[in-house]
């Protein structure tokens, strides 16, 4: 059978209109690459709590996930603010829970970096006139957030940022965080915006050395990716789902995924992402999404 065939229409009356099974997709996320087999534990937990089958999959693209949600083939998904907004617009998604770290240690942000021995670039102001790399026009942490930061800081026209010789001498889309990072380390770009977590992992893996790059600025903290749920599921089901997430207390899991055993899922309000979304709006990133 089809793991995703949990369309709400075929709801089971015995379960108060609940779906017979739900599909949950983990999205690749520069903050959350460790998607491996540990997610099974989360799935089993949810399944036990809800008493229905839970399918858990690895996604590859937010667009695919959101379209799947829109067509009723996907129920729960991990989403960044931008994706949440898109999912809300296109599929009526609602925010469900967000992982909350206890310590301050692991805040997610995007760093502005340059080569370690670059004398000329030492602060955000020095970025002006550089050869700069974003990740991809659809990336939150690799493009939207750093762009927002720049627009706010230097009062730029968001529509012109990518144009050569407006602020930067030249802007490239490198298509991935590691690409941006390696590009800077090797001198292909003078500077780039790269998720801090990627820098950590790349250093840890030995692909670059600590001194190869230096951080000259950063974005504000980026809210952690949260689970969102298809809006047209029964309300009580959504509640139960939320409870199921909150009651998940597997420390091994949180240690592995969020590097802190104390992390837990907490319920979030629908306006949790609003500040982020406002920022996105400020750089005209939301125009296209509205149908």
């Amino acid at each position: 059978g089809n793991e995703g065939s949990s369309s709400s229409a075929s709801a089971n009356t015995e379960n108060k209109g609940w779906p017979e099974e739900i599909t949950l997709v983990q999205m690749p996320n520069e903050n959350n690459p460790q998607a491996a087999s540990l997610h099974t534990q989360l799935r089993e937990h949810l399944s036990e709590e809800l008493g229905i089958k839970v399918n858990e999959l690895e996604g590859g693209s937010y667009a695919v996930g959101i379209e799947a949600m829109a067509s009723g083939n996907l129920d729960v998904m991990l989403a960044s603010p931008m994706s949440y907004y898109q999912a809300k617009e296109r599929a009526g998604a609602e925010l469900l829970v967000s992982p909350q770290t206890s310590s301050e240690k692991h805040n997610y942000y995007t760093a502005f970096i340059t080569q370690g021995d670059n004398e000329k670039i030492n602060s955000m102001e020095d970025l002006k006139g550089t050869n700069f790399a974003f990740v991809n026009a659809a990336s939150s942490s690799g493009y939207l957030y750093p762009k927002g930061t720049l627009v706010q800081e230097f009062d730029l026209d968001p529509d012109l940022v990518e144009q050569s010789d407006y602020f930067f001498e030249n802007v490239t889309f490198s298509e991935s965080h590691p690409n941006s990072l390696m590009g800077v380390a090797m001198g292909d770009f003078e500077a780039a915006a790269v998720a801090a977590s990627v820098i950590d992992s790349m250093i840890e893996a030995g692909n670059i050395k600590e001194g190869d790059i230096k951080e000259i600025g950063r974005t504000a903290d980026i809210p952690d990716a949260s689970y969102i749920v298809r809006g047209d599921l029964p309300d009580d089901f959504k509640e139960s789902l939320k409870d199921a997430f909150i009651s998940f207390e597997n420390e091994e899991y949180f240690e592995a995924i969020h590097e802190d055993p104390k992390t837990r899922f907490v319920a979030v309000e629908q306006d949790y992402y609003d500040p982020a979304i406002e920022m996105l709006d400020a750089i005209n990133a939301l125009e296209e999404v509205q149908e």
């Binding site: 379209e67 490239t172 889309f173 298509e175 090797m186 296209e288």
Partner: protein, 265 residues
């Protein structure tokens, strides 16, 4: 004719058992796959209308407002594709000759090349992508290298198979003349290989034009990546326009090559 064969004239004198066994094994493997993967034909058929609907609802109408902005990408893409096709054609041709039994009688060399090409092909592209970026950083060269790697594996094998198909008769004549290996190659094999060669080279060009994933992985841009980005931003109309551009490039190339082929070869 003896009595037995009056009633029965077999038209085959082979062991059916083996054939039946092979067919059974394949059927079993198929059945296993279908059950193991829980594939349902019904579902596929039911999904079909939605499949088509999705396209018409989301992708139409095409949005060609930004057509002009694609031009640099188109030029880039063509440039990459042409250079990569040239190089991979030449390299794959050498490999193909080394792999084909028709042109390489040294078994060890054949097996070695075949193994080498097969490793090229079997290391997934994400790996090549990271390796290239870690080694060379970003830039045009990496894009070209990436494309060459993608095409060379399949192109070498395809060339080799096409060379294998060339009938031995004609090569025999050259062999009987005492022609050297390279003479047989250039005067016997290559002239007959030309049609297949053009065919495959076109195919590789086509792959190189739409190699969005590949160029994306090494950050080299191009028109394919543009499609992916537009989709991720839900700009389906624009994506469709770019797809149309890609299709036109491919059809146009095929048309041009065909007319060149008719006139020149």
């Amino acid at each position: 004719m003896n009595k037995k064969s009056v009633y029965k004239i077999p038209i085959e004198q082979k062991d059916y058992k083996k054939t039946v066994a092979i067919v059974l094994i394949i059927m079993a493997a198929l059945l296993f796959s279908v059950i193991y993967l829980e594939i349902s034909v019904l579902e596929m058929l039911m999904g079909l209308p939605q499949f088509v609907m999705f396209f018409f609802e989301k992708f139409l109408p095409a949005n060609s407002d930004n057509l002009k902005q694609y031009i640099p990408s188109v030029i880039d893409t063509l440039g990459y594709a042409i250079i990569a096709t040239y190089f991979s054609t030449i390299l794959a041709f050498i490999f193909g000759i080394l792999i084909s039994e028709n042109t390489n009688k040294f078994k060890t060399l054949r097996v070695l090349t075949r193994g080498f090409v097969s490793v090229l092909r079997n290391i997934p592209f994400i790996i090549w992508g990271s390796l290239l970026v870690y080694i060379f950083g970003l830039g045009g060269i990496v894009g070209v290298l990436a494309l060459i790697l993608v095409t060379i594996g399949f192109l070498s094998k395809s060339y080799a198979e096409s060379i294998d198909e060339i009938s031995g008769d004609k090569l025999e004549a050259l062999r009987a003349n005492g022609a050297s290996y390279f003479q047989i190659l250039f005067h016997g094999v290559i002239p007959q290989f030309v049609p297949a060669w053009i065919n495959w080279t076109l195919f590789s060009f086509e792959i190189n034009v739409r190699a969005s994933v590949v160029l994306g992985l090494v950050g080299a841009g191009g028109i394919g990546v543009l499609i992916d980005t537009n989709i991720n931003l839900f700009k389906y109309g624009e994506a469709l326009t770019i797809i149309a551009v890609v299709v036109s490039i491919i059809l146009l190339t095929e048309f041009i090559t065909n007319s060149i082929r008719k006139r020149f070869i």
